[in-house]
């Protein structure tokens, strides 16, 4: 009932999805159709079904939901291990991003059982009986579980995530007290996986203009960096009814961050800074 950290998977589920039709409000080309079932190999012992979103851009067909029966005794412990097993043993066309397999690169971010997390740090034992795997929400899909992140990265470059100072660079480092350095903790660790942004309902409705929690967390990271001198200009660029103020403190972001960061708190900090500078 009380979630203490974002890696906690709730024991009970009242509602798996909102009570809406499966393809509610979805454009014709995005409608998900029923896909095929891939049966478990013969002699499989511990079998679990995974429902995985598939989309083939070359087929001209709509996306579909395939069911894979997986022998858990042949896979590693994580959802990513299952995906790799499926790709190597069952269907080699299954496409997904992956790299570090230890939760630090952000490549394998996807929607597992209705919430966004990294496939390489989600235990299979924590997934539902019929686990569902979708790509990150509200993103154009390139193929299968690979979203097109061009727009969200463009929003990231919009906030100019680099040090801006008129003071010429000193001979050695730009000095920072331990207290000032502590301000960056909880912000620099972001791996830009975009689990939070794709899980934000406000970003679903206004993806074109609302920057989203990931980008705003990084904006906060540069606002609190004591070495940065362009705080005022950064705040000017953020003060916009859409860029910043589409955040209604829904807090899906903090709930879903696979690194345990707190974008909601950072955005509240930005809003407080906005008030502080005019009062």
């Amino acid at each position: 009932m009380i979630i203490r950290s974002s890696d906690q998977v709730p024991r009970t589920t009242l509602l798996k999805r909102f009570p809406l039709p499966r393809n509610f409000g979805v454009s014709r080309q995005s409608r998900i159709e029923r896909g095929r079932t891939w049966p478990a190999p013969a002699g499989a012992t511990r079998v679990k079904t995974f429902e995985i979103y598939r989309y083939d851009p070359d087929s001209g067909k709509n996306p579909r939901l395939d069911s894979f029966e997986v022998d858990l005794d042949e896979c590693g412990l994580m959802v990513l291990d299952v995906l790799i097993w499926i790709k190597s043993k069952v269907d080699s066309t299954l496409t997904f991003r992956r790299s570090c397999r230890e939760g630090v690169c952000g490549s394998c971010a996807m929607n597992i059982d209705g919430t966004n997390w990294l496939a390489c740090t989600r235990f299979v034992s924590e997934t539902r009986d019929r686990a569902t795997i979708y790509p990150l929400n509200n993103m154009p899909v390139i193929k299968d579980l690979v979203p097109d992140l061009t727009h969200v990265f463009a929003q990231y470059s919009l906030i100019e995530p680099w040090l801006k100072s008129k003071t010429p660079a000193p001979e050695t480092e730009r000095l920072q007290s331990p207290e000032e350095r502590r301000q960056l903790d909880g912000n620099w660790e972001c791996i830009l996986c975009f689990c939070c942004t794709s899980g934000c309902p406000s970003h679903w409705w206004n993806a074109d203009r609302f920057l989203g929690p990931a980008v705003l967390l990084q904006a906060w990271r540069w606002l609190v960096d004591s070495r940065d001198e362009a705080t005022g200009e950064r705040l000017d660029d953020l003060e916009d009814p859409f860029r910043l103020y589409r955040c209604h403190t829904i807090l899906n972001c903090t709930r879903t961050c696979p690194k345990g960061l707190n974008p909601g708190k950072a955005i509240a900090g930005i809003k407080k800074m906005m008030i502080e500078r005019r009062s």
């Binding site: 979630i3 909102f18 979103y53 989309y55 209705g114 899909v141 807090l251 903090t254 709930r255 407080k272």
Partner: protein
């Protein structure tokens, strides 16, 4: 760029898991808009009272009918949910209560407090009506 316009959009509201965070936030918005409709009723009630005792008693009789009472209790619940949720929002605006444990604890407190306050208001008004 024609490729990207042909690309399907991955599902969001259709498959995302309802959580306390998103559900309470939507409830806050829904009760807010509903209270806006009740605000119209408030103005109508005041205008009826200003018009005289006849129009006022028409409104009073409606409020005492079964349908009126259902609307009243519904309105009181919406009011307390939006009030408690609003206080939670104001706390967040001061920067407090953002750890996940606090988010969930305060969320359940809002649900419990709204229900209890609605029941309390109903009981008190029933007692006073005697």
């Amino acid at each position: 760029m024609s490729k990207s316009s042909a690309r399907p959009l991955s599902p969001h509201l259709q498959i995302y898991r309802p959580q306390l965070t998103s559900v309470l936030s939507f409830a806050h918005r829904l009760t807010g808009v509903t209270l806006g409709i009740y605000a119209i009723a408030l103005v109508a009630w005041l205008m009826a009272a200003a018009a005289g005792s006849q129009p006022y008693s028409i409104v009073q009789n409606f409020m005492q009918s079964l349908f009126g009472q259902v609307l009243l209790v519904g309105g009181i619940f919406c009011f307390f949910l939006h009030l408690c949720g609003g206080i939670r929002h104001l706390l967040w605006d001061t920067g407090r209560g953002f750890e996940l444990r606090a988010i969930y604890a305060s969320g359940w407190i809002v649900v419990a407090a709204s229900t209890l306050l609605t029941v309390a208001a109903w009981i008190v008004s029933s007692i006073l009506a005697r």
